[in-house]
Symmetry: C2
Subunit: 288 residues, 2 copies
């Protein structure tokens, strides 16, 4: 396994190692790798000749009051994970390597997709994501890039950006990996106390309840949302940011619900911010 | 010579025709090709295995009151020029091909470089330039890209963007081509009446006068600028936008003048907006 910390070394590997026609898979991460990342790596490993994992805690995608400084970093363990998963290249640059002091370019998707939910909760977040991903796509030139469904809105943003800028990579969305009790894996879960960890389950439980509501015939998004929000409301440790059901393609409100929809939620528990989502295909009702 | 009008066809050529190690040269143009463009193409032809010329009048880089509708378009003549210059591929997409109706991504360099001169005269212009160039760089994946010195500030912007986003292309700056009397070639020159054409020469003459001032020992940028502006002021048909001398690297004011500097000017004559610039290396004075 190669480990590069400069853009020049990463570029050099890309120019000279993969042969024409090879598939190069990129798994962009912020490190603190867990089984969700392993699922992305394994999916890449299953189809690509070369698998590149980037590890970079991207300061541009954290707001001034967010947890950039506290975000978990564990280089040794991440490298061991990559080795176990048979990764070919780890690209782990420093901040000044990615953003020299006179860095002044950004990439931004400006649409409904980036204004709502995470976009309104975390101003500047998506601009930071699209800027760093453009750099990684230029450096690693992946033919396929792997993203987790847990960051569903981010995946839609990346698909839009890649299409708009004609970046030659295929975006592969990999299902969320969960604990046995349903909690979505996240690098931030380690900051939950045992009782907060238990309370955090309310997010998944509310999404599941929303799904059952839809599968049982509810077509009014407001009714589904109130149902989910009531469930979270009964958990005093949870501070809800949003919990909605939207079109899975556009994140627009769709009334009545039809086609592929997504329930998305964000909440804070004990100073930790957690997000999760569930996709569901709305059954065709009689008469529609 | 191949001529493609879809992104898919351009991408397909790039994926399958050039071999590993080949140099692919891109000359991005808005068409209405003149001898300035020919100089770019010839420079590319001299060193690259494959030469791609893009022809696209990019609506994103025109302001609402600018001449997008009136910008000259002459497809047949442009193709004949490319054929004469032994171009391999002309990429000439339509506006909806480049910007589908839900297009929503932009690339922007935000710095002193893009705020001054053309940046302040033409709000949004550079954002349109950097967005379309990112797309062209992704589609044609040129190893070298050719830009004219006439658009000097644009060339600095492109160098910054390519560095910041790690776009794998080398930017080659090609000297401005001029008429025998000094007028810089421009697709917009054709809109000058004979007397305006004569008056337009004042821009080049003022830049030349500024150069002589510097070569004769003037080191105060204000003095050089006043001298140039007085020359333009004596031409009643010319409406000056700016005429300055700046660091050639940063476009910052440098006082006293030293190193490589650039004199840049923009003026309007008879409804036509013209720009020009001259580079000069400031001679080292005694005692410095």
């Amino acid at each position: 396994m190669k480990c590069y910390d400069t853009c020049a070394a990463m570029r050099n590997w890309r120019n000279f190692v993969p042969e024409a026609g090879d598939d190069v898979g990129l798994v962009p991460t912020m490190g603190a790798l867990h089984d969700g990342h392993r699922a992305l790596i394994r999916r890449a490993r299953a189809t690509c000749n070369h698998v590149v994992v980037s590890i970079f805690v991207n300061p541009l995608q954290f707001g001034p009051r967010e947890d950039y400084g506290q975000y978990p970093r564990n280089r040794e363990q991440d490298l061991a994970t990559c080795q176990e998963e048979d990764v070919d290249v780890v690209f782990a640059p420093s901040v000044p390597e990615m953003y020299p002091s006179d860095f002044s370019t950004h990439v931004e998707v400006v649409s409904h997709l980036t204004r709502v939910l995470e976009g309104s909760s975390r101003p500047g977040h998506f601009r930071g994501v699209s800027t760093v991903l453009t750099k990684l796509f230029c450096l690693a030139a992946p033919t396929k890039s792997y993203f987790g469904q847990k960051d569903y809105q981010q995946a839609l943003l990346v698909e839009t950006m890649v299409r708009d800028l004609n970046i030659p990579t295929e975006i592969v969305l990999v299902p969320t990996v969960r604990e046995p009790d349903g909690l979505a894996l996240s690098s931030r879960n380690r900051y939950l106390s045992p009782s907060d960890r238990q309370a955090a389950l309310v997010l998944y439980r509310s999404l599941e309840a929303g799904r059952r509501h839809i599968l049982h015939g509810v077509r009014d998004p407001g009714q589904v949302e109130r149902h989910m929000q009531q469930i979270v409301g009964r958990e005093p440790r949870a501070h809800l940011e949003y919990l909605v059901v939207r079109s899975a393609v556009s994140l627009q409100l769709r009334k009545p619900l039809r086609g592929q929809v997504v329930m998305l939620g964000a909440l804070r528990i004990g100073g930790v911010r957690l997000i999760d989502n569930l996709l569901v295909r709305v059954p065709e009702s009689e008469g529609t």
